[in-house]
Symmetry: C2
Subunit: 303 residues, 2 copies
């Protein structure tokens, strides 16, 4: 296996209330053939349509906390999946309360499902382990119990050196695959070790999504060396006190976390409806951490 | 009082699933200072923002049935009203089940309200009586219990004949108001009857919103002589059997209802996601009832 394809699409970058330009929170990682969604605010299914992201694909959804602007898109996503004839199982992860919410909506709206839906209630320290990646959950610092998530890709196999393989007369097909998987092979009685043909394994990608949170030392550690940190940046510094009361961060605080955590890039999101133009947020973040940008709806970034 | 201002705004004209061009069902009548909303699909609060319709105004919401695409926008509307500091009471009307749905969402998402919220469960025959209008509810013919609604304005006072009033030396102010209200007045010992100055009362406006329904004789009677009939037109006639099974109408069936009910105009709505261009629906409706049009998101019509 060579390195996977990883695309991050911001579906909704507003917070609390939608605006003409920003839908409610949701980010999707497309990791090879799978979709990993973080939060699912009202309007997410329509944003998926606008971003041309299909509803029938392999998918997991991670909810940070049980505030309406982060979960009210879930029932619609689930119902539309059913209408579209999804058969793939869907896994939804979230804090305590996600099960009661989904079950009561399903009961009171009496909707059927034609695919398996698994709901998992997570605590801080929770981990999902898949072949090529893990998802880690930790406590955020909000006004209600809330989780932050990291997508942590496992080390990726090194680059396959085509020129060397050709020189050693290794034919295309299963023998090359075995070398890539770390096995040695024998050709014409000659033993070839994988490291002769495959470069050193490369560190996997890491993406951290904080959800709603005050700035937090624990999150600095949790997001350390992320290739992309997607951080609450609800307000500018003039509203620092309000951010503290409401359990959010200023753009400057998000940038301080990014700097301490030595991340590669910082995406500012959960932008308050009061900022028609978020340049004040961008300016104060860049002043502290240069590789900052303001996430916009339907913006897509390949990592 | 002279005739009220009446504006109909289509917020969502899709059905079942949103598309890039159509949000989920919702129509708002702005009747003078009040908003009367019919259905509230996911995304409605954002469509209100796009249509510049405020969330803090006097408002009643009428839900036709408990399918997600017609109600999943309600919790977000209610929450945003709270965030915006609404103090006006909000009345929500709908079929049996609307209370359980709203209460369970409120409980599981633990959201507070800073305004009075009244939930009313209606049956066929239900009527809301206000000073200047009534709302009537009747059974639609769908796959679950569903209501259709008519907004019925009370007869409007006749036109005030300014020239006559001036000739009779009736001063501006309370005396003119009394005549408009149907009372006779006395000026300089001379009795003036209202019909000398005020024209004959004019019939009020009538708007009928079917919600999801098969074509129905009862709805022909219910919507009789509506100035505007907003009718389910999910499919074209080639999908007549599917319409019957799913509890919807074809555009041709909607037009037949409009014709029999002798309405003034027909708005086709709840357009299936399969129609990127709804011209086939428009053509078959116009063939039967000329004053048909396809409702589009954010289209506004003054009556």
């Amino acid at each position: 296996m060579v390195g996977q394809f990883l695309l991050v699409t911001f579906l909704g970058t507003g917070g609390s209330m939608p605006t003409t330009g920003r839908s409610l929170p949701s980010v999707v990682l497309r990791y090879d053939a799978e979709l990993l969604m973080f939060d699912c605010g009202e309007g997410t299914q329509r944003q998926m349509t606008l971003a041309r992201i299909g509803l029938t694909r392999k998918m997991k959804i991670f909810i940070t906390h049980m505030h309406g602007d982060h979960v009210l898109g879930l029932p619609g996503v689930i119902q539309s999946m059913s209408l579209l004839g999804r058969e793939n199982r869907l896994d939804i992860y979230g804090p305590y309360g996600i099960r009661a919410f989904l079950e009561c909506v399903r009961e009171t709206l009496a909707f059927g499902l034609n695919f398996p839906l698994e709901i998992h209630e997570l605590r801080s320290g929770g981990k999902i382990d898949e072949t090529h990646y893990q998802i880690h959950a930790t406590n955020a610092n909000h006004i209600v119990p809330a989780l932050s998530y990291s997508f942590v890709e496992k080390p990726r196999p090194g680059k396959f050196r085509l020129a060397v393989a050709r020189r050693l007369n290794i034919p295309e097909g299963p023998l090359r695959k075995r070398l890539q998987s770390g096995d040695q092979i024998t050709i014409d009685g000659r033993r070839i070790r994988p490291q002769e043909v495959v470069g050193p394994s490369r560190p996997g990608l890491k993406i951290t999504y904080t959800g709603d949170t005050r700035p937090s030392k624990a999150l600095c550690v949790f997001s350390e060396k992320s290739n992309l940190l997607i951080h609450d940046a609800c307000f500018d510094s003039s509203l620092k006190d309000k951010a503290e009361v409401d359990g959010h961060s200023t753009a400057a605080q998000a940038a301080q976390v990014a700097k301490k955590a030595r991340v590669e890039k910082l995406a500012l999101t959960h932008i308050s409806a009061r900022y028609r133009d978020p340049k004040i947020l961008l300016a104060e973040a860049k002043n502290i951490f240069k590789a900052s940008f303001v996430a916009e709806d339907l913006m897509a970034i390949e990592l």
